[in-house]
């Protein structure tokens, strides 16, 4: 990792730690309890930012895949792969924290009747299959193109998954951001949520940079080893 990148990663990590500690403290001790769900609603402050981060990474991975297909520049392959990798990690966290919230709110770990949950699971499984596709072909331009096309197809599922809760219109998985009369929560809750979202995004960006640097070093070492062999 170059010196400016190290400074950027350190700044992001510091911002992530500060925002997460502050945001979680505000969410637990300062934001009011939800009138309907009570204390269990506090999971919202970690579950939703993690889910939005997963979506962001899948979208970012697709953008990098598009750049690869349009420029044929191999560096976008590693960037797209790293973004999908991060998206799957945050996707798994979304499923686990969501299940815990479902158990305390609905009394069950999972509901197959909820389109939002099932569509998120479909997106997660789709991107999990990305790794099987990637490692079933030899490294090279063909693998890069196949992986890019797969990542691009997956991004089409994101708006469907994101909008599913609005399409479903059920009360189990409530809509809180896009009501006709604005955000459907007190400003204290919204502020705590925004700080937590900033913290999770900063943490994810730090992980992305570190992971990408690690993968680049790995690739360089492999090349060097082949030259020395």
């Amino acid at each position: 990792m170059s010196s400016p990148n190290r400074v950027a990663a350190a700044a992001l990590a510091t911002a992530a730690a500060g925002l997460l500690v502050g945001g979680i403290a505000l969410a637990i001790f300062w934001a009011p309890e939800d009138a309907d769900q009570g204390f269990s609603q506090k999971i919202f402050y970690i579950h939703v930012p993690v889910a939005l981060t997963a979506y962001a990474f899948f979208g970012f991975g697709a953008w990098k895949a598009l750049r690869l297909l349009s420029t044929r520049d191999s560096r976008y392959d590693l960037e797209s792969y790293t973004a999908v990798h991060m998206g799957v990690i945050f996707g798994l966290l979304t499923l686990v924290t969501g299940s815990i919230w479902a158990k305390t709110s609905w009394g069950q770990w999972w509901s197959w009747g909820e389109r939002q949950l099932v569509l998120f699971l479909v997106v997660f499984l789709f991107y999990s299959a990305y790794f099987m596709l990637r490692y079933s072909t030899d490294p090279g331009p063909r693998r890069e193109r196949n992986s890019a096309v797969f990542a691009l197809f997956g991004v089409a599922l994101i708006p469907v998954s994101f909008l599913a809760v609005r399409i479903a219109g059920t009360i189990l998985h409530p809509t809180v951001f896009t009501h006709d009369d604005g955000v459907a929560m007190p400003w204290e809750m919204f502020l705590a949520f925004c700080i937590c979202l900033g913290g999770v995004l900063a943490l994810a960006a730090t992980f992305y940079r570190v992971e990408l640097a690690g993968k680049r070093i790995d690739a360089s070492l492999k090349e060097l080893r082949e030259q020395l062999a």
């Binding site: 204390f39 506090k42 924290t97 305390t104 020395l228």
Partner: protein, 50 residues
């Protein structure tokens, strides 16, 4: 501690555990890369010397 508090704590602990697990994985990866770099540097020195 109420049942809701236990579930909220569990959700936040899952998040914390994931962050810590990632840090451990990265630390192991850095250790492996350092070892590989040291091996390659030794190999390059041997090539130059021999």
């Amino acid at each position: 501690m109420t049942s809701a508090e236990k579930y909220v704590l569990a959700a936040y602990l899952v998040f914390l555990a994931a962050v810590l697990a990632y840090l451990v994985i990265i630390a192991l990866k850095v250790g492996r890369l350092e070892q590989e770099l040291a091996d390659l540097a030794r190999l390059a020195r041997e090539r130059r010397g021999g």
